[in-house]
Each structure stands twice: as structure tokens, then as C-alpha cells.
């Protein structure tokens, strides 16, 4: 009944790539496809670990030439100063061009209204999509991973967005082999996710292997925080702490980096990359479940935001 069910310890040929090499090669292939087929690609760069890994892969993909893409940062106005500093140093170091879409500008102009809860994550969508239209970007790289969230598990590597940047999960193109279809009409663009098949642990292992520098807030440090909805948030002008919330000094680190108003820190003693990897491997919480308030808003929060043009 089993034609060849031999189970041996010698499983892989010497030509089998390690999982990190396989993921790296796939991501590089995706960057090069976009460089070959699109006119005006851009990399979404937040200064978070996923976008930092994306940029690192793009740099490797075109060596010894420079990266044929510019960067785009959606600045919520509530960013961690360490992350903005990292962003600017990176742009300088690699001679890249940075575009910034500013949420604060939109609020100042009265186009967007501050939300009562102070979080600006949902407000990013309009500045992002308008910037894409203004600059006529036709391919927008995002660091989204399918392991992050179940709506993202259904995301394609090449994801077509209409002229309103909307995602329609029922009208997605099947992706076969590694034959990515980048066709789009004028005004439409394609979101491209080279890290689709990576997990949080893969990203950290790759950062360790490649010796990639990260903003220090990813490692355990003492910080003044207060508790809200079960998360440790950093005090700031964005609207915390409020009455009844008390600030205390704790040893924490961040697993994701986003808007300060909705990105929580976790208690951690992991002050080196090795310790971070061990901590993640043993964690019983997903990074978003642990530290992102905006994903908890409803059962389909991510799907709904993605439909509107969120990345």
C-alpha cells in the first residue's frame, strides 16, 4: 500500500537550500520581477523590522548596483524618535530618496479628524493612497507577512489595487508557480509583499544571520510606560496617560513598531538578538495579538482596513 514510504534520516540532497536561503531567494526574485516590469516602484519603509529586512533584501538583489526604488514613509506624527532617527540614517547611508506622507499635515489641513481614542493608525490610509496617486507609483512594496493575521493569510504576493487603492479578496488573481502577474491599468497599482512567506521567527533569524542593525526599541530597555487595555504604552503628546492611568518604569521591548498610540511594549529581559529569538520561539502570543490594539477592534478589522487601501 506504500510504494515508497521509507523514512530515513538522510532526507535532503546537498542542493536543498536552508529555509532562510529559500525565503531570501524567493524575495529577491520578487524584487527583481518588479524592477523588470514596473515603471515607478516604491518601498514602504516605516523603520520597523519587516521594512528593514525588505530594504536589506532589495540591497542584496541589485548588488553591486544601487536599489532602483525609492522609499515611502507614512508618518503618523506619533512615531518613536528612535525610529525616525533610524529612518533618516538609513536613507542617508544608502543614498536613497525618501517620500513622506504625513498624517499630521492632513489633520492640520482639516482633511482628517483626530479620533477620540487618539490612535492614528486608521488615519494612515488616506495620506498613503493619495501619495501613491500623486507620485504615480505603480508598485508599492509592503512588509506584510501572511502569518500576521488571517486576512493577510489570503493575500497574494502581487495584489492588484484599483484606482481607489481598494483590495477585493474575491477578485484576487490566482498565483501559480512563480509567475507573478503585474498587469494593471493606469491609475491602478500593485501591492507587492516579498516577505509573504516569512514568519516573525524567520525575520528575526534572518536579522541575526545577516547582522542587520535595528532601532534599539526592539531590545529590552527601561522605559516609562502606563497600562491601557492590557498593553504597556509609552507616554506622549498623543494623549496618554489619561486620568487614572499611572506611569511606571519597566524593562520592556517592542515586537512591532507603529504608531505610539496603539503599539504596546512587552515585558522582556531580551537585550540581545539571541535572547529575542529564544523569547519569540517560546512566546504564546502572536506579535499583533500582544501589541496591536487596532487589530482587536473587530473580527474583520484587518480585512476591512485592507479593503480600504491599508497595507
Amino acid at each position: 500500500m506504500t510504494t515508497a514510504a521509507t523514512v530515513s534520516e538522510e532526507t535532503d540532497s546537498p542542493y536543498a537550500l536552508s529555509h532562510l536561503d529559500a525565503l531570501e531567494s524567493e524575495a529577491v526574485h520578487i524584487f527583481r520581477e518588479v524592477a523588470g516590469e514596473f515603471e515607478r516602484p516604491v518601498i514602504l519603509f516605516s523603520g520597523g523590522k519587516d521594512s528593514i529586512v525588505m530594504l536589506h533584501l532589495a540591497l542584496k538583489a541589485f548588488r553591486p548596483a544601487s536599489v532602483p526604488f525609492s522609499l515611502l514613509h507614512v508618518d503618523t506624527g506619533h512615531n518613536f524618535p528612535e525610529v525616525l532617527d533610524y529612518r533618516d540614517r538609513t536613507v542617508e547611508k544608502h543614498g536613497l530618496r525618501l517620500h513622506v506622507a504625513s498624517v499630521q499635515d492632513y489633520i492640520d489641513r482639516g482633511v482628517l479628524k483626530e479620533r477620540p481614542d487618539g490612535t492614528r493608525n486608521p488615519l494612515q490610509t488616506l495620506p498613503l493612497t493619495e501619495k501613491i496617486q500623486q507620485e504615480r507609483f505603480d508598485a508599492v512594496f509592503g512588509g506584510g507577512r501572511r502569518d500576521e493575521e488571517k486576512a493577510r493569510a489570503k493575500e497574494r504576493v502581487f495584489s492588484l489595487r484599483d484606482e481607489f487603492s481598494q483590495w477585493d479578496p474575491r477578485r484576487q488573481r490566482p498565483e501559480l508557480w512563480n509567475l507573478y502577474n503585474g498587469r494593471h491599468a493606469p491609475g491602478e497599482h500593485v501591492r507587492v509583499f516579498p516577505l509573504s512567506n516569512w514568519t516573525e521567527l524567520d525575520v528575526w533569524q534572518y536579522i541575526a544571520r545577516e547582522g542587520i542593525e535595528l532601532p534599539q526599541i526592539y531590545y529590552a530597555h527601561e522605559r516609562e510606560v502606563f497600562s491601557r487595555n492590557g498593553m504597556w504604552l509609552t507616554a506622549g503628546e498623543w494623549g496618554g496617560p489619561k486620568d487614572g492611568e499611572t506611569v511606571e518604569k519597566r524593562l520592556v521591548r517592542y515586537r512591532t513598531v507603529g504608531d505610539m498610540s496603539c503599539t504596546g511594549a512587552v515585558d522582556s529581559e531580551a537585550d540581545s538578538i539571541e535572547k529575542v529569538i529564544v523569547e519569540i520561539a517560546a512566546s504564546r502570543l502572536t506579535e499583533r495579538g500582544a501589541t496591536r490594539a487596532d487589530d482587536k477592534m473587530s473580527e474583520a478589522a484587518m480585512e476591512d482596513r485592507k479593503r480600504e487601501g491599508y497595507f
Binding site: H29, K150, A282
Partner: protein, 444 residues
């Protein structure tokens, strides 16, 4: 495997696999158990599932909620699209293409199987091999997925009887072997109770083979490259503008099959110009040899005209180029594919104009019978197609190379991906499968 140690986090290999099963075969339970027991379902995800299940009045957490991510899926309680899942054990990383079982989602199974090295086909032990099982086996054979696992589920409901399992395994293996599936491993399981999924079953001591997870962890993931035709589709020409590399001109791409080494004589297709490899850069580092699926940059001795869309091959092993392609296709778009349809064909890194010249037959997956000259292919149809391309293409047979033997058809008007194509013979069967319903012969 509750905690993973640092040593165990050393780099492992990656296995891409796909699951297939009918609606009630217990696929979600199997996937849920694999994810759960490999620590890939984390507390907050489980809590979310428990919360939603409870709010619907369900007593036990519905593990299908872990895998059904879209509103429409939750509303209808069905899976409508391929989802990709990730889990790991200390021995290997897994990418699971979780494909829906409904007949109308054949295209999704084709999508999932296109990148899979293994397919898990579930059957219900009480029902045995049914039409849907044959469909799944046929797709695995068409897509030439190297390994197949037959998971005979719900063994607890048939008293863990060896003879029930043996009969199903024998029938399936005979069918799959006839189709040319190179390797079938049959495993008796109960996804619900947990028999032979991760832990060996105490209820079936007559079974001496691996558990599902053990098999997934140990099945070989790379093939012997000595028999492969080396192929590099050129994606992009790297030409630094700076003063440090004034003469650098590299041809970047992901090796689709085989291996290349420095000093090798190569030919560029379709032009047919020849040169020698003077260097190979593996993401910036020079190497002497590189192989599939590495992304590399080749440097050649001669300054010849090469651009995106060209294919670099060993001079001693170059495929013929052709403008007439015969292929088995799976139509994946809602609008039909018809004779005379003008399309774009993407093969490797080249996209060319093409026209559908003929649709000689359509395949019925249930019994593998052929419907001659169907006139058109609609969504989820699998059929035989003749295509004329505007430019010559160096295509391989899909049997020889899943990468350079495959293509997609694209609607030139709106960019829709229409069709998945596989060049050459359909099934690897040494003898054509008997076709009683048609007498115009087997041309698949």
C-alpha cells in the same frame, strides 16, 4: 515540542505542501491539529476562536475559524480561497497551501499544488475512495507534485480496522500510480482523536509507518540535479552606474532548474548567441557553482545582447524554440477561454502575444474521460489547448521542468490571469489510463 531550544533554531529546510479534501473529510481538523501541536496556534488566536465560537452558541471551539479568514467565508462557513499557513518543528519549516475542497474550486487546488512538493489527500475511512479523491489525485498527477500522502481519516469510526485501511490504500495507490504519481504514502489517522497525526496511534499497532508529521519532516525536498536541464530566465540586467564597476554587466535571475558553473559554455535563447560564464554572483558574493532555486547574477565573457525575457541555458543542453505550444491547462478565470482568443502568455520572465488556435478536448476529472472539441473552457475546466505565440519561446516539457514547462495566460485588456498551462504530456503514466467513454483515443 513545547519549547524550542536555541540549537534547534539552526537553519532547517523548507517544505511546501498542499492539502486537499472534501468538505466533511476533516481537513480543517487535520490542519488545526498540525498547527496546534506544532505550537503554531498561539493563545490569542485560540482565544479569538473560542470567543467567536461561544458567541455563536457553539460548545467547542471551531478550529475551522483559524483557517477561514475572510468575512464571506465566516458568513457562509466555507473556505473560498487558498490560504497559506506556516508552522515549524525543530526539523523543518512548512508552508501549507490550504486549499478548499469544493468541486468549483479546482483552480484553487491547482494554485496550491503548483508550488507544492507534497499533497496530502484526505479520505473518510467510512466512504473510501470517492470521485473527489480521484479528482484530487488527478490534479496532483497533472501538476506533478513529487510526493502524495493519502490520509485515511476517521479510522476511529471504523473500529481502527486494518483491512478497511488496506483496501482504501490499495485502491488509491493503484489509481495514483496509474496516473504517474511518483510516490504515495498511505497513513491511517484520526485527526479528531489525534491518531498518527503527530503522535503514533496506540489504537493501530498493526501500522508500522510514519505519522503524518514525521513523514512531512523527513520527505526529501530537493531532487538530484544531475538529470535536470539547467535554466536561467533573465529577470533584470544589473549595470551599476558608479565608477567602482564601470564594466559590470550581470544577468540576474532565479535558477529555474539544474545548476551552472563558472567556465561553462552557455547559449542565450531565443537569439541563440553563445558565450561562457565568467563569474557567478550569489547576492553579491562570487561563487563557482549555483543551483536551483538560488537567485544569482551571471557574468559572461562576451558582451552580447541579452535582456529581460531571455533564457540562459548550457550550450550542450538547449531546448528547441517554438511558436506552437500544446499544453494541458486549467482555466482559472470566470470568463471562458475560447478558440480564437487573443491573450498574453507569460513564460519565465517573458510575456508574448499569443492566440488560442484550438481546444481539442476537455478532461472530466471524475473519471478522466475526454470531451472532444468543447469549444471553450470555463472556470475550473481542465483541457488540452493549442497556442500559437507571436515570438518563438524556449519551452520545456512540464514533465522535465515545472518552472520552464509552465506558463500563464493573461487577458490583454484587463490583466486578468486566465489560465494555468503545462507544456507537453499531461500525465506521467507509462500506459495511458483506460478511457471507455470516448473512442477518439487518449490525447492527454
Amino acid at each position: 515540542m513545547s519549547t524550542i531550544t536555541t540549537e534547534e533554531l539552526a537553519e532547517t529546510t523548507l517544505l511546501r505542501f498542499a492539502t486537499a479534501g472534501s468538505v466533511d473529510d476533516g481537513k480543517s481538523t487535520l490542519v488545526g491539529r498540525l498547527l496546534h501541536d506544532s505550537k503554531s496556534v498561539l493563545t490569542d488566536q485560540l482565544e479569538a476562536v473560542e470567543r467567536v465560537s461561544a458567541s455563536r452558541g457553539q460548545e467547542a471551539p471551531d478550529l475551522a475559524l483559524l483557517t477561514d479568514g475572510l468575512r464571506a467565508e465566516r458568513e457562509q462557513g466555507i473556505t473560498i480561497d487558498v490560504a497559506y499557513r506556516y508552522f515549524a518543528t525543530p526539523r523543518r519549516r512548512f508552508i501549507l497551501a490550504d486549499t478548499p475542497g469544493h468541486v468549483q474550486y479546482t483552480r484553487n487546488m491547482v494554485t496550491g499544488a503548483s508550488t507544492a512538493e507534497l499533497t496530502v489527500i484526505l479520505v473518510d475511512a467510512r466512504n473510501g475512495v470517492v470521485e473527489q479523491t480521484r479528482r484530487h489525485a488527478a490534479i496532483a498527477a497533472l501538476l506533478r507534485v513529487p510526493h502524495a500522502v493519502l490520509a485515511v481519516n476517521k479510522m476511529d469510526l471504523v473500529g481502527y480496522e486494518e483491512k478497511v485501511f488496506a483496501a482504501i490504500a490499495e485502491e488509491f495507490t493503484a489509481y495514483a500510480t496509474e496516473l504517474g504519481v511518483p510516490e504515495v504514502t498511505a497513513i491511517p489517522i484520526s485527526a479528531l482523536v489525534g491518531d498518527n497525526v503527530v503522535e503514533p496511534s496506540a489504537n493501530m499497532d498493526w501500522y508500522g509507518g510514519p505519522t503524518v508529521l514525521e513523514h512531512l519532516e523527513t520527505v526529501p525536498v530537493a531532487h538530484d540535479l544531475s538529470h535536470c536541464h539547467a535554466r536561467l530566465p533573465v529577470q533584470y540586467v544589473i549595470r551599476p552606474q558608479g565608477p567602482d564597476h564601470p564594466d559590470y554587466r550581470g544577468y540576474a535571475g532565479q535558477i529555474a532548474a539544474g545548476s551552472f558553473h563558472v567556465g561553462e559554455s552557455v547559449t542565450v535563447l531565443p537569439s541563440g548567441r553563445a558565450s561562457k560564464i565568467s563569474g557567478i554572483d550569489l547576492l553579491g558574493e562570487p561563487v563557482d557553482v549555483a543551483w536551483t532555486t538560488q537567485s544569482v547574477t551571471l557574468l559572461l565573457e562576451d558582451d552580447i545582447d541579452i535582456s529581460r525575457g531571455d533564457l540562459i541555458v548550457p550550450s550542450k543542453d538547449a531546448p528547441a524554440t517554438t511558436q506552437d505550444i500544446e499544453a494541458t491547462v486549467c482555466h482559472v478565470a470566470d470568463a471562458p477561454l475560447t478558440v480564437g482568443h487573443r491573450v498574453l502568455l507569460k513564460h519565465g520572465t517573458r510575456t508574448v502575444k499569443a492566440i488560442v488556435k484550438d481546444i481539442p478536448s476537455r478532461l472530466t476529472l471524475d473519471d478522466l474521460s475526454l470531451h472532444p472539441h468543447p469549444g471553450q473552457l470555463v472556470a475550473n475546466d481542465i483541457g488540452r489547448v493549442k497556442i500559437r505565440t507571436a515570438e518563438p519561446l524556449p519551452v520545456d516539457s512540464y514533465a522535465d521542468s515545472r518552472r520552464t514547462g509552465s506558463f500563464i495566460l493573461i487577458d490583454p485588456n484587463d490583466g486578468t490571469t486566465l489560465t494555468a498551462g503545462m507544456v507537453g504530456e499531461s500525465f506521467a503514466a507509462p500506459e495511458p489510463v483506460k478511457d471507455d467513454s470516448e473512442d477518439d483515443g487518449w490525447d492527454f
